[in-house]
Amino acid sequence: MAKIEFNNVSVDFPIYNANSRSLKNSLIKVATGGQLKTDQQGNVKVRALEGLNFTLEDKDRVGIVGHNGAGKSTLLRLLSGVYFPSGGTVKVDGEVGSLIDISLGIDHEATGRENIYIRGSLLGLSKAVINQNIDEIIKFSELGGFADMPVRTYSSGMHLRLAFAVSTIVHPEILLMDEWLSVGDEGFKEKAKRRLNDLVHQTNILVIATHSKEQLLQTCNRAIWLEHGRIRMDDEINKVAAAYFHD
């Protein structure tokens, strides 16, 4: 059982320009009292999300659509627990896994094998679980003898295959994705697609931000359309897709 509840959630980003980010300005601000405060106060705030209300439950496959800057990434970060809302409440029941930026934490000087441990540990896998899966990961990523070479010697394809193979070992209840992952050459793509589909099938809730209509219709059964940080539409997939892609 997994559940996500958003209750009137909003997110404000403080924008610290080079000036207001320094202690000097804060001190000056204290010293000069209200003056600067009235004209800018140094804290420019951008409202990234406003008044979001929705509930996601088991079997929900939700696509997040919207133009650049609509708040898709911020929403994903709220879901993953990286950001805390500035207003409202976010309730996430269930273990969250993210396939956003799968190369995060990869050390180019370390070998592929070492990187599997680093990346796996970052994702919260124990050493025992990694030990259990490491042969499978190396086999899946088709690294062969390169597994014990530094990652800097890898081609970009190998690099991505490795990152993909490690990151898809986890089986979270709530899965977050920023665009459908597509890695490698034709042969690998098929294999990766099957693996990703398995993962998506096993997860209770999927949330994916995407620009691809085809992908949306294929994977999702519901979509949330964000516009300027607000929900413009939250409905069954076909309806949202028709409205959004028509627009």
């Binding site: 610290y16 320094s22 202690l23 993953s80 990286v82 000087e109 680093i118 970052l122």
Partner: protein, 266 residues
């Protein structure tokens, strides 16, 4: 509110401690990364430290006209421990800033990044401390049983440094001038604290200001004095313990208060 902040921080801390394999892995990776492709690897830490101690030891034992037998062990352990102290404070400022990528992608307790930095410096200290027994051998000075007292002293000092680093990591995430300010303060502290000069060489009047009011001196003494065969004073212990308790409570409350904002500041 006060209580709430503290419990947020406490939960974060316990969650991080449970992930100690990640902390040690990342900490060790930091060290390895620095010395990859070099033949001697992390032992460069030991070598460069030895060179520095040798040079400063020879020059200043001449300047202060102190016998090398007393001065060399004093300066060796002083510099080794000071490096530990100052690195935790200076790198503490960057603990969250340096982990920006991870913090913005993965919901890992932020304490992991702080403890990773502390672990990295413990490993560095481990590489440097081996110089001390060698110095003792060279000058023919024995190590008494009292040296064991440096272990509780060391733990107490590490707790103190960790809470200081926690506060600095949080402030520095918001105010990016802070790391520079802290770095220069640390540099001044190096000269104000008896590391390259011995406390007995200055007048008692100046002593009380430079020593009693200097928290770095107390932290250094509880680790260093036993290793040099003397007992730390009662005030060394008391100040260090009081700082550890009050500071930890303050730091956790402070951190808990801002924990939710940190990801936005990065």
């Amino acid at each position: 509110m006060q209580n709430n902040s503290f419990s947020i921080a406490w939960l974060d801390l316990t969650a991080a401690v449970k992930r100690y394999p990640l902390i040690t892995l990342l900490g060790w990776q930091d060290i390895q990364q620095r010395y990859r492709r070099s033949a001697l690897g992390p032992f460069w830490l030991t070598i460069s430290m030895s060179v520095m101690i040798g040079a400063i030891g020879l020059v200043f034992s001449q300047v202060f006209k102190t016998p090398t037998q007393d001065f060399l062990p004093f300066i060796a352990i002083g510099i080794i421990l000071w490096t530990f102290i100052s690195n935790i404070i200076i790198e503490g400022c960057l603990a969250f800033i340096a982990a920006e990528n991870i913090i913005k992608q993965l919901p890992i307790p932020l304490f992991v990044h702080l403890l990773r930095m502390v672990w990295r410096n413990l490993l560095t200290l481990g590489h440097n401390i081996v110089i001390f027994p060698i110095v003792l051998l060279i000058v023919g000075k024995p190590l008494g049983l009292v040296a064991l007292l440096s272990i509780p002293g060391f733990i107490l000092a590490t707790i103190n440094l960790t809470w200081m680093a926690l506060i600095l990591a949080t402030i520095c995430a918001r105010y990016r001038d802070m790391p520079q300010i802290v770095a220069s303060v640390i540099q001044v502290m190096f000269y104000l604290t008896p590391i390259i000069w011995m406390p007995k060489t200055i007048s008692a009047h100046v002593n009380s200001y430079l020593l009693d009011l200097n928290p770095a001196y107390h932290l250094l003494e509880i680790m260093r004095a036993p290793l040099l065969g003397t007992m730390p004073t009662a005030s060394n212990w008391l100040v260090s313990m009081a700082m550890a308790v009050i500071g930890s409570l303050l730091a956790l409350t402070f951190y808990g208060n801002y924990r939710r904002r940190i990801a936005y500041w990065l």
